[in-house]
C-alpha cells in the first residue's frame, strides 16, 4: 500500500498528479474493507482516506450553511445528512441548471478499530471532512528487541 506523501518542498503540480494517480488506482480496485456505501451515483460522492492516526471521510458538498448539515455517529455507522438550496434573484429565467439541489443522506460503516466518539468534522471551501481517530490500542507501536 502506497502512502501519498509530499516531498519536503511542496510542489502543487506534482502533488496533483500523484494524488490523481492514487485515486485512480483505488477507483478501479477498492481496498478490502467494505464501507457499506451503496456505490457511485449517489449524492454526495464520498472519498475515504487513511493515515497513521485514523480515517478521513470526505464529501464534496459546496454551498451549504452549517445548519444545513447534520452528522451523527451510531455504533460504527457515520451518517451525514444535509439539504442544499439553490436560490436565484427574482424576475429571470434559467439557461442552465446543472447543480444538484435537494436533501441527501449517506451512511458509512467504519472499521471497529476507530473511535467514533472522538470524531471531528470541518467544513471549508465546500468540502466536508470528518476525521475519525484510531483507538489508542489500535495505533501502531514499536516493538523493542531484547538482547539475548
Amino acid at each position: 500500500m502506497a502512502l501519498f506523501r509530499f516531498p519536503s518542498s511542496f510542489d502543487p503540480t506534482n502533488a496533483l498528479v500523484s494524488l490523481q494517480r492514487e485515486l485512480d488506482r483505488v477507483f478501479e480496485n477498492p481496498l478490502g474493507f467494505d464501507f457499506g456505501l451503496s456505490g457511485k451515483g449517489v449524492y454526495p460522492p464520498v472519498n475515504v482516506f487513511s493515515n497513521k492516526g485514523g480515517y478521513f471521510v470526505k464529501m464534496e458538498v459546496p454551498g451549504l450553511a452549517l445548519d444545513q448539515l447534520t452528522i451523527e455517529a451510531h455504533g460504527r455507522t457515520l451518517t451525514i445528512r444535509g439539504k442544499r438550496d439553490v436560490s436565484a434573484p427574482q424576475g429571470g429565467s434559467f439557461h442552465r441548471r446543472e447543480r444538484s439541489r435537494g436533501e441527501f443522506s449517506r451512511s458509512v460503516q467504519l472499521p471497529t478499530d476507530l473511535d467514533l466518539a472522538r470524531a471531528e468534522a470541518s467544513y471549508k471551501q465546500g468540502m466536508l471532512t470528518v476525521h475519525i481517530p484510531k483507538r489508542e490500542e489500535a495505533k501502531p507501536r514499536q516493538i523493542t528487541i531484547k538482547a539475548a
Binding site: 500500500m1 502512502l3 501519498f4 506523501r5 509530499f6 511542496f10 503540480t13 502533488a15 496533483l16 498528479v17 494524488l19 490523481q20 485515486l23 488506482r25 483505488v26 477507483f27 477498492p30 481496498l31 474493507f33 456505501l37 456505490g39 457511485k40 451515483g41 449517489v42 449524492y43 454526495p44 460522492p45 464520498v46 472519498n47 475515504v48 482516506f49 487513511s50 493515515n51 480515517y55 478521513f56 464534496e60 458538498v61 459546496p62 454551498g63 451549504l64 442544499r84 439553490v86 434573484p89 427574482q90 424576475g91 429571470g92 429565467s93 434559467f94 439557461h95 442552465r96 446543472e98 447543480r99 444538484s100 439541489r101 435537494g102 436533501e103 467544513y123 471551501q125 465546500g126 468540502m127
Partner: protein, 132 residues
C-alpha cells in the same frame, strides 16, 4: 418544493484545451440565470478558495479556472473513492455585451457566484407602439 432524488454524476474531464501543467482538469457544474439587467452564474468548485481562482473575459469569452488545495491530503492514502480530485476550468461564449468593469465575483463555501451586468446599450428595450 418537491423533493427530487439527488444523483451524483461523475465529473467530466475538460478536454477542449490542453493545459501547460500536468494533471487532469474537470468541468464544474454551473447554473446560469438571466434577469433583464444581468447574467448570473454559479459554479460548484469544491476545494477551491478565492485566492486560487481566475475569472476573465476576453473577446466575449468568459473563462473560469480554479485550483484545488491539496495540503490536507498530505501523508494519507485513499482507501475508497467515488469522486476525482482535480482543478476546474470552463469557458462560455457570451452572446450579449457585458459591462466588465461592474462584474461582481464572490466565492462562498466552494461556490463561485458571478454577476455579469449587461452593458447599457445591450439591455432589451421595449419599444412603445403608438396607435395610428
Amino acid at each position: 418544493m418537491t423533493t427530487q432524488e439527488l444523483t451524483a454524476h461523475e465529473k467530466q474531464e475538460m478536454r477542449t484545451a490542453e493545459t501547460t501543467r500536468p494533471g487532469r482538469t474537470y468541468i464544474p457544474d454551473v447554473d446560469i440565470y438571466e434577469t433583464p439587467d444581468s447574467l448570473w452564474l454559479w459554479a460548484d468548485m469544491p476545494g477551491v478558495d478565492e485566492n486560487s481562482l481566475d475569472v476573465r473575459i476576453a473577446d466575449s469569452v468568459l473563462s473560469i479556472e480554479g485550483r484545488v488545495a491539496l495540503q490536507e491530503y498530505s501523508d494519507s492514502t485513499p482507501v475508497y473513492t467515488e469522486y476525482h480530485v482535480g482543478n476546474y476550468a470552463r469557458r462560455f461564449s457570451l452572446s450579449g455585451e457585458i459591462a466588465s468593469e461592474r462584474i461582481k465575483a464572490r466565492m462562498t463555501n466552494g461556490v463561485l457566484e458571478l454577476e455579469l451586468p449587461k452593458a447599457e446599450h445591450a439591455k432589451p428595450r421595449r419599444i412603445a407602439v403608438s396607435a395610428a
